[in-house]
Structures are given as C-alpha cells and as structure tokens.
C-alpha cells in the first residue's frame, strides 16, 4: 500500500496532502466550533453542512490521490482511506464490510465522539450523535473507492460514546438519486511567502519550524488513531472543513436572520479560536518539547510570545509574523497565506466583514496566556483558570484590522488591552 501522507510546503507554510491543505487543531477547537455551529440547529439546517463539507473534501482528495498514483485495487484504496484517517488523528475504523452498495463500519475510536465526551460529556437524548465529520469522511471516501459520483453515498451513525455506547459505528447506504454537492476549494487563493528569523529575538523561527514539521505527530494503530499530545487530542484536520462549515453557516445565518446574528457569530467563532489557543498553545508551552527545544531560546517574556508564534508557523496555518509587541499591552500579527482567507476568497469571493476568526482568537489567546495569566509558571489549564483569565480586568481584546477577504493585501490582527 502506498500511504497518503502529504508534505509540509515551506512556500505556503502548510501541509498539502493530495491537494488538500491540512492543519493542526485540537479537540477543544473541533468540538467547540461544532457546538457553536450546532447552536443554529433550530433555524439553519446545519447537520447536512457538517456532513457534506467533509464528504466533498475527502472525495476530492481521495480521487486525486488514487488517480495520480494509479491505484485501482478496491482493497488497497480501502486501506489508504483507513490509514489516512488514523494518521490524521481522526480515529480508527475498518471498511472491511463495505461494498459498492454500502455496509456497516465499526470504529475502534473516533476523535469527535471521544473528544466531545471528554470536553462536554454525554449528549442529550434529543440530540443526534456527534461524529458528523466521520460520516462525511466515510461517504466521500467510499464514493472515491468505488468510483461513484460525489453525493451518491449516505452515512448514518449508529452508536456513539456521547450516547454512552461502548463503541462507535456507522452505516453506509447508496442514495437512489445523488445529492448535488460542490467541489472542494482545495488550496484556495494562496499567497507565496518566505519565513525569516526576526532580528529582535533570540528565538529561531526557522529552526523551530524545521524541528516541529519533522516530528512524528500522528495517529498509529496502537493509539487507535488518536493523537494525544501536549495535553490535548490533536488532529491534522482539513482546513477547508473548518472554512466550509463556518462560512456556509454564516451565509445561511445572514439569509435567515439578516445581519442581526453576524456579530454574535463573529464573537463565537473567535471564541473557538481562543479556546484552542488556551488549550493547545498552553499545553505546548508546558510540554517537554517546549522545555527542551524552545524555552532555552527564551530570555524574556517577549521571547515566549515569539516562541509560540514560531510554533504556529509549523501548524499549517500560514505565515505568522509579529509586527509589533508592546509588553503586556499590545500585539500586532500579520498572517500571510492564512487558510481562512484562502478558502473564503476561493469559494465566496469578497466579504463585507473580517472572516479570519481562528487567527483572531489565536492571537488574543497568546497575549492572555503570557501577560494576563502566566503560562511561565505552569498553571493547570482548567476550565476555572480559563474563566479566571477571561473575566480578569487584564483580559485582552482583539480586532482584525486588515482582511484579504475584504480586499486588503494581508490579514492583520491587533490584540490590545
């Protein structure tokens, strides 16, 4: 079997696997973002968005990989899909019983199901099972494996950890009439750039990126496809999945509710990024890797800011550069080739509002961790500590002052007191 892996492309500062950009994100972000999107369930048909966005992306990726590598054997295709799912930290399943007409899929573990239960607990009786991403992955992968048309498979979830089941399972069936789905935006509207070491810090951005992009952060058979690293459950997630689900929800929100809900959606999508920063950046800044590789480069607290920004440059989120840092007061970050703008510009064109929600929440999270809380003292990253930081008078705010999706040539974020 020729495994699907992809490479880190330094020209774009992102991982590309058979045409699809992949980025690191944790279960806190994945589940909080999904929870926010699901909050619209009473007035937006959100569940098809959560499933079909994954289906379109996985279908495009698998098709490209099978075609480029001339992989025709069904069994090999199945193995590639299973292996990639596991490698990315999404969990572990078997397609053994799946035929061109569908079949049952039993999963040994599932990131969304496991991650949701560990963050939010069980879901209510009247709520559906949680693994919409996996449902879309399975449908899209099966279509590609059997050379079916996009939208021809349907996937239901039969059991879920969030429903107190002891395993996760799915059922694939063939649609009588294929659903009309869209093509993946793939890399989107990209920007080329080169990462340089800033001259005002001892932190070696290039060295850190080189080290981290070569670390084996991946799910394995023994970990059942779960990546337990830095105190969180990591995934190598399709950036287009976040973008398609979030922006489709925003469009529907605007169609349904006018502009009334947009500001609220902005705050909540940004909060997803902030939650992510708190847990993932916080976990990284307490990790053995940080202590061994990055902390020795840090002479000042400002170097900690540079250190974590250097790490972000290995996440696949584009190029992050600090334009201005006023200790404990202000941080200005420029993002080049940010995945949010890339995807938005490709699929929707120009926006009337700033749309880089993850980057907004992420930059704010850096300042809150380092100057509002004190991550250098290794606090426990609990819900209580998070609330304390958010409710503190020293809590930072953030605004996106430039946005490519609005016509600017770059994305700029200003974090301030």
């Amino acid at each position: 079997m020729k495994p699907l892996r992809g490479n880190f492309d330094t020209q774009y500062n992102t991982y590309i696997a058979a045409g699809e950009p992949l980025i690191f994100h944790c279960h806190h972000y994945n589940t909080f973002l999904q929870a926010t999107l699901e909050d619209t369930k009473d007035y937006i048909d959100i569940y098809p968005i959560l499933i079909e966005s994954a289906q379109e992306i996985v279908y495009a990726q698998m098709n490209q990989f099978f075609s480029e590598n001339q992989i025709a054997e069904i069994e090999e295709r199945k193995q590639i899909a299973e292996d990639f799912f596991m490698f990315c930290g999404y969990g572990k399943f078997s397609l053994e019983n799946v035929s061109v007409d569908g079949g049952k899929v039993v999963s040994e573990s599932d990131h969304y199901s496991y991650g949701w239960k560990s963050k939010f607990g069980l879901r209510a009786e009247n709520e559906p099972m949680v693994s919409f991403f996996t449902r879309g992955f399975l449908a899209g992968a099966t279509e590609a494996i059997f050379n079916l048309a996009l939208g021809s498979m349907e996937c239901k979830q039969l059991s879920c950890y969030t429903k107190n089941d002891s395993f996760v399972s799915f059922e694939l069936t063939k649609n009588i009439n294929s659903k009309k789905l869209s093509n993946s935006p793939k890399q989107g509207t990209t920007q080329n750039h080169t990462l340089n070491n800033p001259n005002n810090t001892s932190v070696n951005y290039l060295g850190i990126r080189e080290a981290l992009t070569n670390m084996p952060i991946e799910g394995t058979p023994s970990s059942k496809g779960i990546i337990d690293a830095f105190g969180v459950l990591l995934t190598r997630m399709y950036s287009n999945y976040y973008c398609q689900t979030s922006y489709r929800m925003l469009k529907k929100l605007e169609e349904t509710m006018g502009s009334d809900g947009l500001m609220l959606a902005d705050q909540l999508l940004t909060e997803a990024g902030h939650v992510c920063a708190f847990n993932t950046f916080g976990g990284i800044m307490q990790s053995a890797e940080w202590n061994g590789l990055i902390k020795p480069m840090c002479q000042t607290r400002e170097d900690w800011v540079h250190g974590i920004v250097a790490v972000v440059n290995a996440f696949g989120w584009g190029f992050w550069e600090i334009l201005e840092l006023e200790p404990a007061k202000k941080l200005v970050v420029k993002v080049t080739n940010g995945y949010e703008a890339n995807s938005y510009l490709q699929t929707l064109g120009k926006s009337s509002i700033p749309i880089s929600f993850l980057a907004k929440g992420g930059t704010k999270g850096i300042m809150n961790l380092i100057y509002n809380g004190d991550i250098t003292t290794q606090p426990s990253l609990t819900d209580e500590y998070y609330s304390e930081i958010c409710n503190s008078p020293k809590a930072f705010s953030v605004r996106q002052t430039k946005c490519r999706a609005m016509g600017d040539d770059q994305d700029i974020f200003e974090v301030y007191l």
Binding site: A35, T36, T256, G261, L264, N391
Partner: protein, 176 residues
C-alpha cells in the same frame, strides 16, 4: 408581567457558566427572540428589561447547553422573606401554627401545581431557592424538586408550607 434587567442575567451567566455562554445562548434562541420582537441590539443596553416570557426562552437555551437556568425570583423573594421575618412577627406566630400540620407524602408534581396555581407563576422557583440552605438537612438536592415524580415527605412539605406562608400568606392545602 414581571421584568428583569438583562445585566442580572449576563452577570449570572458570567459567574455560573463558561465564558461567552450568554452569547451562545442568545445565538441558539435568536429566532425565538426575534419572534417576540426582541433583537440583539436591545441586549447591548444592560438596563434593558427582559419580560418573563423572553427570559423563559433564554432559560431554555441555558438549560439545553449548560443544564442550568437563571432563577430570577431569588433575590427579590429572599429579601421579602427576610424583611417579613423581621417586621411581621404576628405572621410568624401564625405560621408556627401551620407548621404543626401533618402532611401526607406527595409527589412534586402535585405540590408544584398547587403552588403555581395558588401563589404565583414564579412561586415554585422561589420555593426551590428558599429551600436551598436546608437541602442537606432535608437529605435532598434541588434537582429532586425539578423531578415531578419525586415524593416529598412531611418534613419537606412543612418547610414548603412555611415558605409560602411567609411570602404569599397562603396555607398549603395538601394535608392528611
């Protein structure tokens, strides 16, 4: 119809739920609020007064997401209890008489129905909040009072009788 300042609910959410919980709840129930003629910008003004029916909608959001809800009668009614205890001693004497009553075991559903019918639409919440300090002594939790099938014993019913008498000057008419 009773009203409450939106700030009180926001502050409660800040103290009792995760950050941004108010925003999540409003996001979830937005169309229902709009149907009531309430729009987001109304809430930007902290002194905006929420009507009881709007608070009920907001509370469904809190319950669905965070499994808790804002009980708005707390402060007002507890202060009523306190002031009446201080100033109206004849009532207390009278209530001592009623405390001697014996009650038969009764499910929450029946007691709650009687209280809501005879006291006020918010009286059951008031009863729950007023009982909170005694929950351990009564060997129960507030969740029991939200479970319609839970059976209240005579000791608990006596406490409820005392509360509704002090606040609403009514006698719980579920006796042996």
């Amino acid at each position: 119809m009773e009203k409450i300042a939106v700030k009180l609910v926001k502050d409660w959410a800040k103290d009792n739920c995760p950050p941004l919980s108010w925003q999540r709840v409003v996001f979830r129930v937005l169309p229902k609020l709009n149907q009531k003629g309430v729009f987001l910008h109304f809430f930007e003004n902290d002194s905006y007064m929420i009507q009881e029916d709007v608070l009920a909608i907001i509370n469904t959001g809190f319950e669905e997401i965070f499994k808790k809800k804002y009980v708005y009668a707390i402060k007002e009614d507890i202060s009523n209890v306190t002031s009446e205890l201080k100033t109206e001693s004849p009532k207390i004497e009278q209530s001592n008489t009623t405390l001697n009553q014996t009650f038969t075991e009764t499910p929450v559903k029946e007691v709650k129905a009687w209280v809501l019918k005879n006291c006020s639409p918010t009286a059951w919440n008031t009863v729950i909040m007023s009982l909170l300090p005694k929950m351990r002594e009564l060997n129960m939790t507030w969740r029991n009072l939200e479970d319609d099938t839970f059976v209240l014993d005579s000791k608990v019913l006596k406490e409820i009788q005392a509360i509704i008498f002090k606040i609403y000057n009514k006698n719980l008419n579920i006796t042996q």
